[in-house]
């Protein structure tokens, strides 16, 4: 790839002409006129706009794709990457993850989210759906990183009225904070953690608040078999029916995991317009023992997208690896090599992901958000190039991404991201300090 003078390309938005890409199988150029959307795309764009471009990127035959959308993660858990693995879920949570999280600070979440954004930019993700704590600090990290996020505070009341009050105020504060930021890349969502950690009263409050504030809703749903049987015992109905009664199932809702959904729940989620985020690596690592019923959800008409989950349970934010994992897991678990073919798998992280997060069409077109990634075609994973969708899904990792643009701004160019070493150093220090604090008796 060659470019014109790039001395300040990372600093501010300029008009950019990208030549020699392959988009949807056809040679094309792309022009972004210092705007947040794509101005022009097609085979003769360079003729029309060469004179206007302040920067020219010669993509040398790279595959151009819309920036990918990660629809379920806990970004700051990058700090816990590799801290505990290969354990029974309950031991892992109670002995390792929760004790460490009890010592988290806003500064930790800031650096953890900075590291997550760095990893996402490097691997072609330009939007993510996040749920965690100290989300004002996460918002600051996203603001600086230049990508898009829907941020929610993880609302957990465990049926306790006083705790519920606290969680309502925290949710209100985050939504007010994010609205005040007035950053078009950052939006808020209500984040009721799950049907088994939030009371029906808490769920209803979240649903009403999200409706009033016109925010999204982000929730975990039916990750484990035990959640479903507990819900049946406690409420006499399955989790999706409970959520529906509480008003949680809306077109602005993203429900993550969904491993143990039955056919009626698939139909219900589709009818309500809910987006379902498949998280195959996390489900396999924590041994959920059932894969998302992808085929039933699609048959019912649901929007199925993809998420990495947090780095404590994956342990990567690379959506290219995740999309391969999804295609493989669906084939293996449902015993049919034709399920989730490469183009459909790719749609999970492009069109379907964009729909889940309300981010436009998730395609490259004039007027669409200028969220663009360039994937090198001159590397082993794209050689030969019989079928781009197949190579992108089955052969490439996120390391194949060479350039990432979000909202019209170049965030990575030829694999260079400004400030990377500083983020790596500070996030590593933050993680080491967190572990040290957790191991020091109070």
């Amino acid at each position: 790839m060659t470019t014109t003078d790039t001395s300040d390309i990372f600093e501010k938005k300029k008009s950019v002409l990208i030549t020699n890409v392959v988009a949807d199988g056809r040679p094309a150029d792309i022009f972004i006129d210092a705007a947040e959307t794509i101005t022009d795309i097609g085979h003769d764009v360079r003729k029309r706009h060469r004179g206007e471009a302040e920067f020219i990127i010669d993509a040398d035959g790279a595959l151009a794709l819309p920036g990918l959308a990660n629809t379920h993660t806990h970004a700051a858990m990058t700090l816990l990457r590799g801290y505990a693995d290969d354990m029974i879920l309950q031991d892992w949570l109670s002995q390792k993850i929760w004790p460490l999280e009890a010592h988290l600070t806003g500064a930790d979440v800031y650096w953890g989210t900075k590291l997550a954004c760095l990893e996402m930019i490097r691997t072609g993700t330009t939007a993510f759906n996040d749920m965690y704590f100290f989300m004002e600090d996460a918002a600051r990290a996203v603001d600086e990183a230049g990508i898009r996020a829907m941020l929610s505070y993880g609302f957990i009341d465990l049926g306790d009225a006083a705790k519920r009050e606290h969680e309502c105020r925290a949710t209100e504060a985050l939504v007010a904070h994010i609205k005040a930021m007035n950053n078009p890349r950052i939006r808020a969502a209500a984040g009721p953690h799950a049907p088994y950690t939030v009371s029906p009263e808490g769920l209803k409050w979240c649903a009403a608040f999200a409706k009033e504030q016109q925010t999204g809703i982000h929730i975990h749903l039916s990750e484990t078999e035990k959640e479903v049987s507990d819900c049946l015992s406690l409420h006499g109905k399955r989790p999706a029916a409970l959520l529906d009664e509480c008003g949680i199932l809306t077109p602005a809702t993203v429900a993550a995991h969904g491993c143990w959904l039955d056919d009626a729940e698939c139909t219900l989620l589709a009818e309500r317009g809910v987006s379902v985020s498949h998280n195959p690596s996390s489900n396999m690592k924590l041994a959920t023992h059932r894969a998302l019923p992808y085929r039933e959800l699609v048959r019912a008409g649901a929007n199925v997208c993809l998420g990495t989950d947090g780095c404590a349970s994956n342990n990567s934010l690379d959506l290219f690896s995740e999309v391969k994992c999804a295609a493989l897991l669906q084939k293996f678990f449902w015993n049919d090599p034709t399920i989730l073919p490469a183009p459909a798998a790719l749609a999970m992280v492009t069109t379907n992901g964009a729909k889940a997060l309300g981010l436009g069409p998730g395609t490259l077109a004039a007027g669409a958000p200028a969220d663009i990634i360039l994937v090198s075609s001159r590397i082993p994973c794209n050689t030969p190039l019989h079928n781009a969708a197949s190579n992108l899904v089955y052969a490439c990792s996120g390391a194949a991404v060479e350039t990432t643009i979000c909202n019209g701004r170049v965030l990575m160019l030829d694999r260079e991201i400004p400030g990377e070493s500083d983020i790596i150093k500070n996030a590593a220090q933050s993680a080491a300090s967190l572990v040290k604090r957790a191991q020091t008796p109070a």
Copy 2:
């Protein structure tokens, strides 16, 4: 990473001092005295050997690992990467793969194997176990690439005596050719394709020939349920028992897949000293519907290693991705998140892989083969670095590898591989020409 003058580091073997690595969790330097083995490794190696080193590589805290071993692949199938996916196994083979393979030439196999070696060097693999056709051309590619391989001709007689004679002669010719090459990095194996494609007579001939010539044996075993039921119908016994009767099960044998092995077969394979190569991505993509019984094999004492299978059914040769897939699939299928923890998964591609291919200890130690990879520690997948084995298995792809050394020779330095663009171009042309020939009526 910084190095001294590297103008001819790729050209010939020189004495190399690698400083500032982390090996087995400890800071170390490594010295290779223009030899095929590691001369010295430890914390004060630089003091002892700085004066002798013609090249110094400052690894800047990179993780040093032994080069990885891929114990089951069909290297030249890189040319078929993405040619056909998401199909029923029998349709995929009969409508897509076999018709294309019927047009393969030696030149295709040469360029396909060159591309495979390039991809392996880039992702940290320094030895592979191969089975395909035109293997003299594959041997030439491996000779030039600088990595290690055990090469076998895929012996298939389908019970036909005339065909068997042809396959015997082809196997003899390959073994003679490779012995005549006298390259310590390249060895031959007998390659009886599978119990369902080779007659008992053919299997017995392969076993006797391998014993006489002191070569390895490379075979597919129990990939699909149908193979097992067919074997029971035809021979009245399960595949491993049939192979044992024919003398195929030896300490020099690598059996690939093994999805449908029962407990008695696990015990038999362990007793015979067979290495079993797990191929999780291929098994998931082609929907074998059962995962390798890893725990039973290990309990029985078998050596379990890892392979990517060929690029038509994976579609990548990146062992870092494959090792994650193995750890996830074992947990998910056998419903236990504690199976195949990160250190054991890593052992599959280091110590166990080296044992399978007869390549020394598969560790970094003075006297061990100088097959070394350096994995960057200053990148998101290794940040934070709570646990190196966890990050290597669950977070890193092969793109984290920055330097690859095999048999004492530097093959990739700081992600630079000489001649890469030429290989990419020629392999792509070879693949395009192959497809064109297959589509042209004879």
